[in-house]
C-alpha cells in the first residue's frame, strides 16, 4: 500500500488525478475500520491531514462553507446557531474521541446510509464542493447519494467543503440506536423549517439504500401549512396533518431487515421521529413568532 501525504490541496488534487483509486483519509472513522477489518485494501491511501484549510469554516451571508475535515466537535461548539440540525447530528456521532477527529467530508465520502450527517444536510439544504485538477463543481446534496455507499464523485475528485444553508428557522435531528450513546443509527431523521421559502425539508438516514428526503411528505406538509396560513398565524398544526406527514415519512422508507433492526421497526420509528421533530420545530417556530410579536 502506498501512503501519500500531500502538503497542499493542489498536490492532493494532482495525486488524486494520478492515482484515481487512492482512498483519501482524514479522521479515519470509516477508512481505518474498513482497513482493520480487512474489508478494504486500497492500493493508495492519501492522508489529507496536512492540508490545513480543510479544517476551517466560513460563515457567509446565506450559507456556511464547512471544510471537509472540520471535526464534529467544532460543529457542535461553534456552529450551533447557524447549523442547529447538523450540530445535533454531530453530537450523536460515536464517542468524544471520534468526534474530535471525524468530519462531514468523511461521512459524504463513505456515503453510508447510516452516516449521521446526511439527514441534517438533506433537511438544511446543502451543496458538496467537489474539486479535481479539471476544476470545481458544486453537487446539490439531493443528487449526491447514488447508491449504497456510492456517491456522484468522479474518480479524480476530492471533497473540499460543504456549503450548508444557514438556518432561518428551527431544525431538529433524531436518531434511534439501541443504546443511549455511542451508537450507530438504526434509523435517523432530520427536519428543518425554512420560513423564508415557507418550506419544510426532511432527511432520512438508514432506512433506504441511500440517505433520502421524504419528498411526498414535504409536499403534503408544505401545502397544508400554506393552505391553512400556518406560517402567518402560527397556529398549532392539526394532529391529522402531523399524522399524515409522519405516515408519508414512513412510506418514503425502503428499509431492510438487518442485525441492527427490522425494516418494520425502521418504518415505524421514522414515523414517530417525524411526528416528534415536526412538533418540536413547529412549537419552537410558534414560540419565536410570539417573542418577535411581543417585542414589536
Amino acid at each position: 500500500m502506498d501512503f501519500l501525504r500531500p502538503a497542499s490541496w493542489e498536490e492532493a488534487l494532482a495525486a488524486k488525478a494520478e492515482h484515481p483509486t487512492a482512498v483519501p483519509i482524514a479522521g479515519g472513522t470509516d477508512v481505518m475500520v474498513e482497513i482493520n477489518f480487512d474489508h478494504r485494501r486500497p492500493d493508495v491511501l492519501m492522508d489529507l491531514g496536512r492540508i490545513g484549510d480543510l479544517t476551517e469554516w466560513e460563515v457567509g451571508e446565506d450559507s456556511v462553507r464547512l471544510g471537509a475535515s472540520v471535526p464534529y466537535t467544532r460543529i457542535m461548539e461553534n456552529l450551533r446557531t447557524e447549523l442547529p440540525g447538523l450540530a445535533l447530528a454531530s453530537h450523536t456521532v460515536a464517542s468524544p474521541q471520534i468526534r474530535n477527529r471525524g468530519g462531514v467530508g468523511g461521512n459524504l465520502g463513505t456515503a453510508s446510509p447510516a452516516g449521521d450527517a446526511h439527514p441534517a444536510l438533506l433537511a438544511a439544504g446543502a451543496e458538496v464542493e467537489a474539486e479535481s485538477v479539471r476544476g470545481t463543481r458544486r453537487i446539490p446534496i439531493d443528487a449526491f447519494y447514488t447508491g449504497v455507499k456510492r456517491n456522484s464523485l468522479e474518480p479524480d475528485e476530492l471533497i473540499r467543503a460543504v456549503h450548508i444553508r444557514k438556518a432561518e428557522g428551527p431544525q431538529q435531528f433524531s436518531k434511534v440506536g439501541t443504546r443511549n450513546a455511542m451508537v450507530i443509527a438504526v434509523c435517523a431523521f432530520g427536519l428543518a423549517l425554512h420560513p423564508g421559502s415557507r418550506t419544510v425539508r426532511t432527511g432520512i438516514g438508514s432506512a433506504a439504500p441511500t440517505p433520502i428526503r421524504a419528498t411526498a411528505a414535504e409536499e403534503f406538509l408544505n401545502a397544508a401549512l400554506e393552505d391553512g396560513g400556518f406560517w402567518e398565524n402560527g397556529k398549532i398544526v392539526t394532529p391529522s396533518a402531523v399524522k399524515r406527514f409522519a405516515d408519508l415519512c414512513s412510506a418514503a422508507c425502503n428499509p431492510i431487515d438487518d442485525v441492527r433492526g427490522t425494516a418494520d421497526y425502521r418504518r415505524h420509528a421514522v414515523g414517530v421521529m417525524a411526528r416528534r421533530t415536526l412538533t418540536w420545530t413547529w412549537e419552537s417556530y410558534r414560540g419565536a413568532r410570539r417573542t418577535t410579536e411581543g417585542a414589536a
Binding site: F37, Q172, A181
Partner: protein, 794 residues
C-alpha cells in the same frame, strides 16, 4: 484537629493496618486507569515472531483440501502448521471433555474454528500469509437447535463419543442431561389453584472483556517453553497444553501476564497451544494477539437457552410445584457445558421453597459458536425465566410480586431441589425487603428549567424524545448462585507463604497461581496475610506454575478458596514462628507458655495486648515458608436420574429493584436505577465488594436490553462480531446503583465470607425485564429486549 508531626502512641500490638474488612486500594488500580499497566497484548520479545490463526469461513463443512504452499512461500513467513503437523497423537483439548481439535481435522464444526496457524516476522505478513492458505470446504447440513440436533436423520456433531456423559444422554448431540425429581409434581399440581406456564428465550451473551486474547511463547534451551499468558487458570491450561506439545508439565512454564477481564471467557484455551507450537517449530518467541473481531470467535460465550416453565400455587400464595425444561445450546464443542447443565438444573427453581419439582436441563451439541463459562454460569438463564414466572403467578393470584416471593422465600435449612439443605444464612426475604425499602428515584428527572435533558431520557443523546411516550416501570428479582466448583470436583487451592526479616522489618511474600483478572484477588489476599501475620509489608508474587494450582478464577471462588489457602498457610507459618519464639525467648516471659499468642503490628503479643517480642527478633535469619493445599467441604455428584445430592459448597443471594423509563412509542429503554441488596457473609474489602456488585449488575443490565451475539439461523454464522453491533452499556446506559451489603456469616467459610462476584449478574436482568413489563404491559419472553419487541415490529 490533628496536628501533623505530633507524637502518637507507640504501636502496642494494635491491629495491623490494611487487614481484612478495610477498603484498601488495589495495587494495580492506578496503573490500569492511567494506561501504565502491562497487559498480555503489550508484551514484546527481541526477535519475536507474530502468530496468526486461519479460521473457518463456514459453520459446518468437510475440509476437502488445504494448500499452504503460497503462504509458506511468502517472504517473512517462518512456519505454517495444520492438523497434520501436530507433534504428538494428543491433538485435542477441552476442559472436561477433550473434544476440541487443536487445529481442524477433516471437518470444521463452527464458524471461526481454527484451521491453520502461521508465524511471520510481522503481524501483517502473518495475516496476509494466512489469507493465502487455500481451504476447500464441502458444506454439511447444519445442526442449529434442538429440533435439528435430535431429528432422526440428524448429523452427529461428534461421532463415536466415549466421554463419561455419552452413556446416559438420550442422543449423541446432547452433551449432558441432568434431570432432578423430588416429591411428586403431578400430585402437587392437583393441589394448585393456579398454574402458570411460560416459554422463554435467553440470547447469547459475550464476556466482551476489554483485553483480547494474547500471549507470548518463548522456546527454552531445554526444549521446553515459557508461556506468558492472560488466562483464568494456569494449571488447567497446563494440563491441556503439555500433552499436545509432547512435553512434561515441568517443561511448560507458565506465567500469568496482565489480564484485561475474563468473566469465564478465558477458562477455555484460546491461542495457548498455537503460540507454543509455533515457538517450538521456529525456535523463536511467538506472540499472538487477537483483534476484537477474532476475539468474538476466540472464546466461548454464554449459552443461549430455551426454557419452559410451569409453576403452580395455592390461593394463599404458596408454590405447589415447579416443572421446567431448560435447553442450553452448547455449540460445537463441550467446553463447560456439562457443569453449566448441572447448575441450570440444580438452581432452576430459584431461592424458593418448593418440595415437588420435575426438572430437566440439557446442553446441545450444534454448529453454533461454542458456549461455556460466563459469570453466573447456568444460573443466569434460569433466573431470568423463574423470576418472570414468579411475577406471572403473583399477577394471577392478585398478589404483590415482592410479597409473593417473600411467602415462598427459602431460608437457612430449606432443602434445594437436589435435597441438599441450605446450611448457612439465606436471607432471601430480607434482601427483597431491603431493596423495596430503598427510596425511589424522583420522577421526571429529565425536566429542567432549560427543557428536557435528553441524557436522562430513553435514547439519550440521540434526541428521540423530550418526554413523549415515556412511561416508568418498576420490577423486582432475586437469585441464587452456587459458590465454588460443584458436583464432587476436587476444588482446592495452593498457597505458599513466606515470612522473613528484611532490612530490620518483617516481610511476607505470598505466592499462588491465582489469576488476577481484575477481580481484586491480589488486594484481598494481601489483606488476609496482614491480618493473619500482623505484618504490614506483603508482596504478592506473580502467578505462575512454579507453585501448585490455585484453581480457576471463576465461580466466585478465589476469595473463598485461595483466600482460604492463604489463611491456612499463614496460620501454619504463625505456629512455626511462635514455636521458634518459645524456643528462643520462652524463658524471658511466662506468657510465652501460658497465653494465647497473636502476631500484630510486627510483634508477638498476648491476647491481652502485651508485647512479648518483635517479630524480627524472633526470626533473626530464619525464613519461615509453608506451601499447603487447602480444600473447602467436599461436594458430591448429582444422581444422574434423580438429581439428588449435596452438590454445592455454598450459596449466595442477591436481590434487585429496577426502575426503568421506556419510550413506549420507539421501544427505547433508560434504566433509571438498579438497586441491589446482597449478602456477602463478610466483606473482606467493602469497596471491592461494591465494585463487584455494581459490575455484575451492569453486566446483567447489558443482557436485558442490548447484549446479544446474533447467529444467523440459516448459516450458523455470527452476524455481529464487533463492538459496532455487539453493544455494551456505556456510562449513559448505566443507572444509579445503590448497594446494600448484608454480612451474615457462613460458619463453614473462611471469615464467614460468601463469594460475591456472580450473584448480582443473576437478578439484575429479570428485574429490568420486570420493570419494562410493568411500564409497557407486554409479556416479553426473551432477552435482550430490542426496540422491535416493544413496538410490535419484530
Amino acid at each position: 484537629m490533628t496536628a501533623i508531626g505530633a507524637p502518637t502512641g507507640l504501636t502496642q500490638g494494635s491491629r495491623t493496618k490494611g487487614g481484612i474488612g478495610e477498603s484498601t486500594l488495589r495495587p494495580d488500580g492506578v496503573l490500569k486507569v492511567t494506561g501504565e499497566f502491562a497487559y498480555a497484548s503489550d508484551m514484546w520479545h527481541e526477535d519475536m515472531l507474530w502468530g496468526q490463526i486461519l479460521r473457518s469461513t463456514v459453520a459446518h463443512a468437510e475440509i476437502v483440501s488445504i494448500d499452504t504452499g503460497e503462504a509458506l512461500a511468502t517472504p517473512g513467513v517462518y512456519a505454517v502448521m495444520t492438523y497434520d503437523d501436530l507433534p504428538t497423537d494428543v491433538r485435542h483439548y477441552g476442559l472436561e471433555i477433550r473434544d476440541t481439535p487443536v487445529l481442524a481435522h477433516g471437518r470444521v464444526r463452527h464458524h471461526g474454528e481454527p484451521v491453520a496457524i502461521v508465524a511471520a516476522d510481522h503481524p501483517e505478513t502473518a495475516r496476509r500469509a494466512a489469507a493465502r492458505i487455500k481451504v476447500e470446504y464441502r458444506e454439511l447440513p447444519l445442526v442449529t437447535d434442538e429440533a435439528t440436533a435430535t431429528a432422526p436423520d440428524a448429523v452427529l456433531v461428534h461421532e463415536n463419543r466415549s466421554d463419561h456423559h455419552s452413556g446416559h444422554v438420550p442422543h449423541p448431540n446432547i452433551v449432558h442431561r441432568q434431570p432432578i425429581v423430588r416429591g411428586d409434581a403431578d400430585a402437587a399440581a392437583g393441589r394448585a389453584d393456579v398454574i402458570v406456564e411460560g416459554d422463554y428465550y435467553f440470547g447469547m451473551q459475550d464476556q466482551a472483556f476489554l483485553g483480547p486474547e494474547s500471549g507470548l511463547a518463548v522456546p527454552g534451551e531445554d526444549g521446553g517453553v515459557d508461556l506468558y499468558i492472560a488466562t483464568q487458570w494456569l494449571h488447567s491450561d497446563l494440563r491441556q497444553i503439555a500433552p499436545v506439545l509432547g512435553l512434561p508439565e515441568d517443561k511448560v512454564r507458565m506465567t500469568l501476564s496482565g489480564v484485561g477481564g475474563a468473566f469465564g471467557g478465558r477458562e477455555d484455551l484460546s491461542m495457548q497451544i498455537h503460540a507454543c507450537l509455533l515457538a517450538l517449530r521456529t525456535g523463536k518467541p511467538v506472540k499472538i494477539v487477537y483483534n476484537r473481531f477474532e476475539s468474538f470467535f476466540g472464546h466461548v460465550h454464554r449459552h443461549p437457552a430455551r426454557l419452559h416453565y410451569e409453576h403452580g400455587a395455592t390461593r394463599d400464595g404458596r408454590l405447589t410445584h415447579v416443572r421446567c425444561r431448560i435447553v442450553l445450546d452448547g455449540g460445537a464443542y463441550a467446553s463447560a457445558s456439562p457443569a453449566v447443565v448441572g447448575n441450570a438444573a440444580s438452581l432452576s427453581v430459584g431461592p424458593y421453597v418448593c418440595e415437588d419439582v420435575d426438572i430437566e436441563a440439557l446442553a446441545l451439541y450444534s454448529n453454533n459458536p461454542p458456549c461455556g463459562a460466563m459469570r453466573g454460569f447456568g444460573a443466569v438463564q434460569a433466573c431470568f425465566a423463574y423470576e418472570a414466572q414468579m411475577d406471572k403467578v403473583a399477577a394471577e393470584l392478585g398478589l404483590d410480586p415482592v410479597e409473593f416471593r417473600r411467602i415462598n422465600a427459602m431460608e437457612q435449612g430449606t432443602l434445594m431441589p437436589t435435597g441438599q439443605p441450605v446450611d448457612s444464612p439465606a436471607p432471601v426475604a430480607e434482601l427483597l425487603r431491603r431493596v423495596k425499602a430503598m427510596p425511589m428515584p424522583p420522577e421526571r428527572q429529565w425536566e429542567s428549567s432549560e427543557g428536557a435533558d435528553v441524557r436522562q431520557l430513553p435514547g439519550g443523546l440521540s434526541n428521540t424524545t423530550h418526554g413523549e411516550g415515556v412511561v416508568r416501570g418498576v420490577g423486582y428479582a432475586v437469585g441464587i448462585k452456587n459458590v465454588g466448583f460443584s458436583e464432587g470436583f476436587d476444588d482446592y487451592s495452593t498457597a505458599r507463604v513466606r515470612l522473613e526479616a528484611v532490612g530490620g522489618r518483617p516481610v511476607v511474600t505470598v505466592h499462588t497461581a491465582m489469576a488476577e483478572v481484575g477481580q481484586g484477588g491480589v488486594t484481598v489476599h494481601a489483606q488476609i496475610a496482614r491480618t493473619e501475620l500482623g505484618v504490614a509489608e506483603v508482596t504478592i508474587r506473580p502467578a505462575d506454575t512454579r507453585v501448585g494450582s490455585a484453581g480457576s478464577t471463576s465461580a466466585s471462588r478465589q476469595t473463598y478458596v485461595t483466600g482460604g489457602a492463604i489463611k491456612n498457610a499463614c496460620e501454619l507459618v504463625r505456629e512455626r514462628v511462635l514455636e521458634t519464639g518459645r524456643r528462643k525467648l520462652g524463658s524471658h516471659h511466662p506468657a510465652w507458655a501460658t497465653a494465647e499468642l497473636l502476631l500484630e503490628g510486627g510483634k508477638v503479643v498476648t491476647d491481652g495486648g502485651e508485647v512479648l517480642a518483635d517479630l524480627v527478633d524472633v526470626l533473626e535469619d530464619e525464613v519461615v515458608e509453608v506451601e499447603e493445599e487447602w480444600r473447602h467441604r467436599p461436594t458430591e455428584p448429582f444422581d444422574p436420574r434423580t438429581g439428588q445430592g449435596d452438590g454445592h459448597v455454598q450459596y449466595s443471594f442477591a436481590a434487585h429493584r429496577a426502575v426503568v423509563e421506556v419510550d413506549t412509542e420507539l421501544g427505547l429503554v433508560k434504566v433509571i436505577e438498579l438497586a441491589c441488596a446482597q449478602d456477602v457473609g463478610k466483606a473482606l474489602n467493602p469497596l471491592s465488594v461494591i465494585g463487584q456488585i455494581q459490575g455484575g449488575t451492569v453486566q446483567g443490565l447489558g443482557i436485558a436490553v442490548m447484549e446479544e451475539i446474533v447467529v444467523d439461523p440459516v448459516t450458523a454464522k455470527v452476524r455481529n462480531p464487533s463492538f459496532t453491533d455487539y453493544l455494551l452499556p456505556t456510562i449513559l446506559d448505566t443507572p444509579a446503583l445503590p448497594v446494600d451489603v448484608l454480612e451474615l456469616a457462613d460458619d463453614h467459610a473462611p471469615y464467614g465470607l460468601r463469594g460475591v462476584g456472580e450473584a448480582p449478574t443473576l437478578s439484575s436482568t429479570p428485574a429490568v425485564l420486570a420493570a419494562i413489563r410493568d411500564a409497557t404491559g407486554l409479556a416479553l419472553d426473551r432477552t435482550p429486549v430490542r426496540p422491535e419487541h416493544l413496538t410490535g415490529t419484530a
